[in-house]
C-alpha cells in the first residue's frame, strides 16, 4: 500500500493549489476562471486524452500484433525504427500540422494526440509479443494448439502486462501533450495555460497546469492498478501464494 502514499499527497497538494488559485477570483485586472470552468476544462482535457488513447489502442494493438508475426517481421524492424523517429518530431509541430490539415479544434487535437499515443502502444505490443519465450510457443504448437489458440491462450496473456504498460506510459505522457494540443485547439486545460501566458498571470497558468498534473497522477495510479490486475499471477514478481493472514492462521493451527 506504500506506493499509494506519495501520489496521494501530490494529488491532494495539486488539487489544493487549484482550489486556492480559483479562490483568488481576480488577479490585477483579470478575473480568474471559476471552479466550475476549471472542472469543465479538466473534463474536456480528459475526454481529449481518452478519445485519443481509445483510438490508439484500437489501432495500435492490432498493428503491433501483426508486425510481430513471422510473415511481417521484415516490416517490424523498419517500422519500429520509423516509429522511434516519429516520436522525435516536436509535439508543437505535429499538432500544428494536424490543425492545418484538419482545422483547429477538438478533432485536430485528438488526431495529433492519437499519433503520439500510437507509438508506445505499437512498440510495446510488438515487444511484448516478441518477448514470449520461443520454447513456450514451440511447446504450445507441439502439443496441438491451433494458431489462434497459441495466440489467445499463450502469446496475448504473456504479452498483456507489457501492452498495458505501453498504454499507461502513453496515457500519462499524453495528459501533458494534451495541454499543448489545447494551446492550439483552444480546448481543455491548455487553453487556460495559453490565456495565462498571454496576459502574463502565473496564477492562471498554474490553474491550468496543476489540474493537468493531478490528472496525470490519477490516471497513472488507476492504470497501474489495471496493470496489476491484468498481469497473470504466475508472472508477478512476488506471487504470494498465501496471504500473510492465512500464513499466520496456519501457524496458529500448528499449535503456536
Amino acid at each position: 500500500m506504500r506506493h499509494w502514499v506519495v501520489p496521494a499527497i501530490l494529488l491532494l497538494a495539486l488539487l489544493g493549489l487549484t482550489v486556492w488559485m480559483t479562490r483568488l477570483e481576480t488577479v490585477g485586472i483579470y478575473r480568474m476562471p471559476s471552479l466550475s470552468e476549471v472542472m469543465i476544462a479538466s473534463f474536456e482535457h480528459l475526454q481529449l486524452v481518452l478519445a485519443a488513447e481509445g483510438l490508439a489502442i484500437l489501432i495500435g494493438v492490432p498493428i503491433g500484433f501483426i508486425v510481430s508475426r513471422r510473415a511481417f517481421r521484415w516490416i517490424g524492424t523498419p517500422l519500429m525504427a520509423a516509429v522511434n523517429v516519429g516520436q522525435t518530431i516536436p509535439t508543437l509541430a505535429l499538432l500544428a500540422i494536424a490543425s492545418l490539415a484538419i482545422g483547429s479544434g477538438f478533432q485536430a487535437a485528438v488526431v495529433g494526440l492519437f499519433i503520439y499515443a500510437l507509438l508506445p502502444i505499437v512498440r510495446n505490443t510488438f515487444a511484448g509479443i516478441r518477448s514470449v519465450d520461443p520454447a513456450v510457443k514451440e511447446a504450445a504448437q507441439g502439443m496441438g494448439m491451433s494458431r489462434w489458440q497459441v495466440t489467445s491462450r499463450v502469446e496475448l496473456p504473456l504479452a498483456r502486462p507489457v501492452i498495458v504498460a505501453g498504454v499507461r506510459t502513453s496515457t500519462v505522457v499524453n495528459v501533458g501533450t494534451a495541454a499543448v494540443a489545447g494551446m492550439i485547439g483552444g480546448v481543455g486545460l491548455g487553453s487556460l495555460i495559453t490565456t495565462g501566458l498571454a496576459v502574463n498571470v502565473v496564477q492562471m497558468v498554474l490553474q491550468g497546469a496543476a489540474p493537468a498534473a493531478a490528472l496525470a497522477i490519477a490516471l497513472d495510479a488507476i492504470l497501474g492498478q489495471v496493470e496489476r490486475w491484468l498481469t497473470p499471477r504466475g508472472l508477478r514478481k512476488s506471487a504470494p501464494r498465501t496471504s500473510k493472514r492465512a500464513l499466520r492462521r496456519a501457524a496458529m493451527a500448528d499449535g503456536l
Binding site: 519465450d133 520454447a135 513456450v136 510457443k137 514451440e138 511447446a139 504450445a140 504448437q141 507441439g142 502439443m143 496441438g144 494448439m145 491451433s146 489458440q149 499463450v154 496473456p157 504473456l158 497473470p232 499471477r233 504466475g234 508472472l235 506471487a239 501464494r241
Partner: protein, 370 residues
C-alpha cells in the same frame, strides 16, 4: 508403430538436414536419436509431429500417413517434451499438465484428477505442487512437470528432445532412472533425441546414430558398442566404448565356476595341499551350508591353526545382476583381484576375475578386426 520412409528435409536455404532417412520404431520401443549437433536428429523428431514439414518421403504412425491427418489432432495424440521445457509461466502446474486434455475437451475434474495422478507418477506430491506456478519450481521440478505434461492425455507415442538436457548431472541421472521406471510401466513408443552417448546407452532399446543428416547405424546399444559399423561410429561412441559396453553386461553373463572351493571346517594341511596343487595364492571358502565366508590366502595359512583364523572376509560381493562396470571397480578394490558372485542367500554362484573380463574384451577386439 512409427515408420519413416525415405524421409528427406531440405530447408529454404538449401541445407539438406535429413537425407533419405528410413527406420521403424516398433510399439513400446524406446528409440534414441543420437548424433553430434547439426546431424539432423532434432529435425527428424520434429518431422514426426509435423512441426517441420517433410520435403520428400513419408512418415506413418500406426500405418496412417501423418500427412493425411489434421495436424493439430495429430499432435494432440503425440506427447512432446523439449529441452527448454516451455512450461506456460502464466498457468499453474495443473493447467500446464492439463493442456492437451483441455484441447481434447476433457471435463475440468477429469483434467485435475489426471494432473494429480501424473504428479504422483513423476514423484511430486500433488497437494504441494498442483497449484504452483512454474516460477515457484526448481529446474528439476520443472523438468518433471514437463515430463508429466507430455503424458497429459496418455498418448501412445512420446517425442522427447533432450528432455533432461538443461539440469545438473545429479538430478539428471536421477530423472533418467525414474523415467526408465515409468517407461517400464507405461510401455510408450518413444523417440528420444540426445547428443549424449551415455544417456543413449542407458535409456535406449535402440539407438539411431546420425551424421550429416544420414542414418549411420541403427542398432541396440550392445551392438552399437561391440560392432561399430564405421570409423565415425567408433569415434563417436568413444575410446572407452569397451568400458561402456561393460555396463550392458551383468555378472551372471561372465562369471566362472570356481576351480576349487574350500570348506571352512577343512584342516589347514588339506587347504595348503589344495592351493599348492592348483598353484593358487587364494581360494574362496564356504561354510557347510554353501554360504560364502571369504578368502583363504596361502601365506596366511602358515601361521594359522584353522581356516577360520586365516580367513579374509570379502570387502564387497556382487550379485548376478551387478553390471560389469561396477564389478570391475569391486575387483580393483579387492585384495585378491576377484569378486565372488552370490545369490540372495549368500550362496556362492561363481567368481569374476580380470581374466574373465579380459575374455569378453578380447572377443570385442576380434570383432573389430573383421
Amino acid at each position: 508403430m512409427i515408420r519413416l520412409e525415405h524421409v528427406s528435409k531440405v530447408f529454404a536455404d538449401g541445407t539438406e538436414a535429413v537425407k533419405d532417412l528410413s527406420l521403424e520404431i516398433s510399439e513400446g520401443e524406446f528409440c534414441v536419436f543420437l548424433g553430434p549437433s547439426g546431424c539432423g536428429k532434432t529435425t527428424s523428431l520434429r518431422m514426426i509431429n509435423r512441426l517441420i514439414p517433410i520435403t520428400r518421403g513419408k512418415i506413418l504412425i500406426q500405418g496412417i500417413d501423418t500427412q493425411q491427418r489434421n495436424v493439430n489432432e495429430l499432435r494432440r495424440d503425440i506427447g512432446y517434451a523439449i529441452q527448454n521445457i516451455g512450461l506456460f509461466p502464466h498457468l499453474t502446474v495443473a493447467q500446464n499438465i492439463g493442456t492437451v486434455p483441455m484441447l481434447k475437451h476433457w471435463p475440468r475434474e477429469k483434467r485435475r484428477a489426471r494432473a494429480r495422478e501424473l504428479l504422483d507418477l513423476v514423484g511430486m506430491p500433488p497437494d504441494t505442487f498442483i497449484d504452483r506456478y512454474p516460477s515457484e519450481l526448481s529446474g528439476g521440478q520443472q523438468q518433471r512437470v514437463g515430463v508429466a505434461r507430455c503424458l497429459g492425455a496418455d498418448p501412445p507415442i512420446l517425442l522427447m528432445d533432450e528432455p533432461f538436457g538443461a539440469i545438473d548431472p545429479i538430478t539428471r541421472t536421477k530423472l533418467q532412472g525414474e523415467f526408465l521406471k515409468i517407461q517400464e510401466r507405461l510401455q510408450k513408443t518413444i523417440a528420444f533425441v540426445t547428443h549424449d552417448i551415455d544417456e543413449a546407452i542407458k535409456m535406449g532399446d535402440t539407438i539411431a546414430l546420425m551424421k550429416d543428416g544420414e542414418l549411420v547405424q541403427y542398432a541396440d546399444p550392445a551392438t552399437l558398442l561391440a560392432e561399430p559399423k564405421t570409423r565415425f561410429v567408433r569415434d563417436f561412441v568413444g575410446a572407452d566404448r569397451v568400458l561402456k559396453g561393460l555396463r550392458l553386461l551383468r555378472a551372471r553373463d561372465v562369471m566362472k565356476d570356481p576351480k576349487h572351493i574350500l570348506r571352512i571346517d577343512e584342516s589347514v594341511s588339506h587347504a595348503v595341499e589344495a592351493l599348492d596343487t592348483r598353484r593358487r595364492q587364494w581360494l574362496p571358502a564356504v561354510d557347510d551350508a554353501g554360504r560364502f565366508r571369504g578368502w583363504v590366502e596361502r601365506e596366511d595359512l602358515e601361521s594359522s591353526e584353522t581356516l577360520e583364523d586365516a580367513l579374509t572376509p570379502a570387502v564387497t560381493t556382487a550379485s548376478p545382476r551387478t553390471p560389469l562396470n561396477e564389478a570391475l571397480s569391486m575387483m580393483l578394490a579387492s585384495a585378491t583381484g576377484a569378486v565372488a558372485v552370490l545369490d540372495d542367500d549368500d550362496k556362492l554362484l561363481g567368481l569374476l576375475s580380470f581374466g574373465a573380463i579380459r575374455d569378453v574384451l578380447s572377443a570385442d577386439d576380434e570383432s573389430d578386426q573383421e
